[in-house]
């Protein structure tokens, strides 16, 4: 499907990064090669990979969603898959769930991540040690995180056993259903656990030395701690954190392994629905799988566009 490029996260870009870039001396440019061409050359390998794998993948998905299945006798191009999608109860039921699974972890991990970064910044010698723990989490695959949540939160899991040993619950079924539940608690927990450190690292990177100077300046002008936080610190890190949050949203809305492992077969998130159709043994279900994948791609694209729009406005305001 079209997920892998979302999983490999590019380093945080946006105003924070470009501010640092602008300070670099101008002799960074190669003599004789125009700056624009030089940048294009440097980007070419990455763009080539993105172009070949991403664009061919998307083209294939769009073509198949329109019914392009030359391996099946009697195939024809049509919009049937898209029409079928809007009447499919699995798709209709998944919209609310997908929105919930994407929005709640994004907001929670942004709030927790920024808070953690602000606290870690205040730490003395143990700062590197603590931020190291946060970074270690980044290396854990989502799949492993989801399995850990299953072992921890399911009705036969560790918490349930502890609760049984402590005499709170008699049977596994007496423990609240946190996995395979209607709300998606375990999915949200898995994403918050995984994405909070990601946004913490981004916020820590944005809280560079320049922020200290700005805060000191605000302090000398008589700003109280709360005022410094709201008017100086948060505006400086917002563009970078917002960029990270968009990635988190696009990822949580578009990935399937965590909701597949921890969620229900129905209602399931959009990516799980796409996978269910994709894995259907009847190949005529393939166009609808691709139609759902195309819709996910378009939604993710819209999110990035919205971010670029907002980030542009934020950057202008901070100048």
């Amino acid at each position: 499907m079209t997920q892998p490029e979302l999983r490999t996260r590019p380093p945080p870009t946006g105003p924070a990064a470009t501010t640092r870039g602008r300070r670099r001396p101008a002799n960074h440019r190669r003599r004789g090669v125009p700056r624009g061409l030089w940048i294009a050359l440097l980007l070419a390998p990455a763009l080539l990979v993105v172009g070949v794998f991403f664009l061919t993948g998307i083209t294939q998905a769009v073509a198949q969603s329109l019914g392009y299945q030359p391996f099946l006798p009697g195939w024809r191009l049509s919009l049937d898959a898209y029409q079928g999608m809007f009447t499919d109860p699995a798709v209709r039921a998944s919209l609310l769930l997908t929105a919930r699974i994407a929005i709640i972890p994004t907001v929670l991990s942004a709030v927790l991540g920024v808070s953690a970064a602000l606290l870690i910044r205040r730490l003395g010698r143990s700062r590197n040690w603590v931020s190291g723990i946060f970074q270690a989490n980044l290396a854990v695959p989502h799949l492993v995180g989801a399995l850990c949540m299953l072992l921890l939160l399911s009705q036969g899991g560790l918490l349930s056993r502890v609760s049984h040993a402590a005499g709170f619950t008699d049977t596994p079924a007496a423990f609240p259903a946190l996995t395979g539940d209607e709300f998606g608690w375990a999915i949200i927990a898995a994403y918050v656990w995984k994405e909070t450190p990601f946004l913490t690292v981004i916020a820590l990177a944005a809280l560079g030395r320049g922020v200290d100077d700005l805060e000191n300046a605000a302090r000398s002008l008589g700003a109280r701690p709360w005022q410094r936080l709201v008017h100086v610190t948060l505006p400086v890190i917002t563009p970078a954190v917002a960029g990270g949050a968009v990635l988190v949203f696009a990822f949580t809305a578009g990935s399937y392994e965590v909701p597949y492992l921890l969620g229900r077969p129905f209602p399931a998130t959009l990516p799980v629905v796409a996978l269910q159709h994709y894995n259907a043994t009847d190949l005529t279900a393939r166009p609808e799988a691709m139609a759902v994948a195309v819709v996910i791609t378009v939604l993710s694209g819209l999110m990035v566009a919205a971010y670029l729009f907002i980030a542009g406005r934020l950057a202008r305001r901070s100048l």
Partner: protein, 426 residues
């Protein structure tokens, strides 16, 4: 040899395909191998032997990429150990590619064929049956006509309908039988007694009295789909009215009482039937965690192993309900675009070897896909001497009332309608 697979292929692709076919035919005729073998199963013994020698010669030095369900540690160890050793003796290296669902391998082949890779494909062999085999037939993915060329196919009973047909689809030499699977109900005898597991009705009565302790994986999961069909057979008194190819009227009549019955019992299932586990491994985990106390399985022989490992309680037992149990065969198929067809053929032959089948029964409790009565008396005695775990039913009990599978099209419809009528109704 093979018809071109693409009615809409570009001229360049057709030219490439034609060239590849020409090369294959040339190679085959010069070596006197595959082509002559595929034409007839009644080839003279000497020529069959020399043909097989040619396959062995071609396979020597090849690596066979075998895509198979990899969720079973004991089976994985058997494949990586015994099977790989046997292949190594004839110079074939085994690369076992573990997948979570057979459909992944079929999709890989389909993707390659779609991209124009009609030769030199990366999947050489797939452990397959039923709907996934049907998918490959639908898209014309399989290499066919080689099953009777295997020397060990002398032990296969091709007249057995369960071998000649795979879920209602004629095999036509497009896959070679490997395993026999008979379903059974697994239950904890400390929680259910034999009267509870006498029939589907008594099981459901027990479930109503003990809510939340029985469930099945959501179809289209392979085992979940089987569980629903077992309930269907019980509801309509056996599969006879649904034998043969798909028939809409028969289907509607047969399932009319099934959906109300499933909805009726749903409230007494795990989580009140509000949801169902996503997979059979999730169901098995529920059983080992003590959340449920009974489940259907398509691999009864593996249960003893789970008991010995301490994952299942020692009081675990098996039962065949009054209406009988569904049985099937699983096969090894070779994609038509496989890069190492000869090595894959050798793999299929090793898997049909009576010694391999005996070993598999011994270590894993997997029942033979071959007809044991066709082997020598000595080998038959060895099969009979394999001890049966106290938690596992003997093969005779599992096969005496075995019921055939339905046509693959019925399965697909049942799975779709289960989703609409049961899962999405909660």
């Amino acid at each position: 040899m093979r018809p071109p697979r693409f009615a809409h292929a570009r001229p360049a692709r057709i030219a490439a395909l034609a060239a590849a076919l020409a090369l294959t035919v040339a190679a085959c005729t010069s070596a006197g191998t595959v082509t002559s073998l595929t034409t007839s199963g009644a080839a003279a013994m000497t020529s069959a032997e020399s043909d097989w020698d040619a396959v062995l010669a071609q396979a020597n030095g090849q690596t066979v990429n075998w895509y198979m369900y990899g969720g079973d540690d004991t089976l994985n160890a058997f494949v990586a150990g015994y099977v790989a050793d046997q292949l190594g003796k004839v110079g074939v290296t085994l690369n076992q590619v573990k997948i979570t669902d057979t459909v992944d391998a079929v999709n890989k082949v389909l993707g390659e064929v779609q991209a124009g890779r009609t030769t030199d494909g990366s999947v050489d062999a797939i452990w397959v049956n039923g709907e996934n085999f049907a998918t490959g037939v639908q898209a014309n993915l399989w290499s066919c006509g080689w099953d009777k060329t295997l020397p060990n196919s002398q032990f296969v009973d091709f007249t057995d309908p369960a071998v000649a047909n795979d879920f209602g689809i004629p095999v036509k030499g497009c896959e070679a039988v490997w395993q026999q699977a008979d379903s059974a109900l697994v239950y904890d005898s400390a929680k259910l007694d034999t009267a509870d597991v006498a029939s589907m009705s008594t099981l459901f009565d027990w479930a109503r009295a003990n809510p939340g302790q029985f469930t099945y994986p959501a179809p289209p999961d392979f085992t979940g789909s089987m569980a629903v069909r077992t309930i269907l057979y019980d509801t309509i008194g056996g599969p006879t009215t649904l034998s043969g190819p798909f028939d809409e009227t028969n289907y509607t009549n047969a399932t009319a009482k099934l959906w109300p019955r499933l909805k009726d019992i749903a409230g007494s299932l795990w989580r009140g039937g509000q949801t169902y586990p996503q997979s059979q491994s999730a169901v098995e985990k529920l059983y080992s965690d003590g959340e449920i106390n009974a489940f259907f399985t398509y691999g009864p022989g593996a249960v003893g192993d789970q008991v010995d490992k301490g994952l299942y309680p020692a009081s675990t037992r098996q039962a065949v309900l009054a209406g009988g149990n569904i049985g099937n065969r699983s096969f090894v198929a070779i994609p038509a675009n496989a890069a190492h067809q000869a090595a894959a053929t050798v793999l299929a032959n090793v898997l049909q070897d009576p010694q391999t089948q005996l070993e598999l029964l011994t270590v894993k409790g997997v029942y033979p896909g071959i007809d044991v009565t066709k082997t020598s008396p000595d080998v038959q005695a060895q099969f009979a001497a394999v001890p049966v775990h106290p938690s596992v039913l003997p093969l005779t009990a599992l096969t005496e009332n075995a019921q055939p599978e339905l046509a693959a099209e019925y399965l697909t419809r049942i799975e779709q309608d289960w989703t609409t009528n049961v899962l999405q109704q909660q």
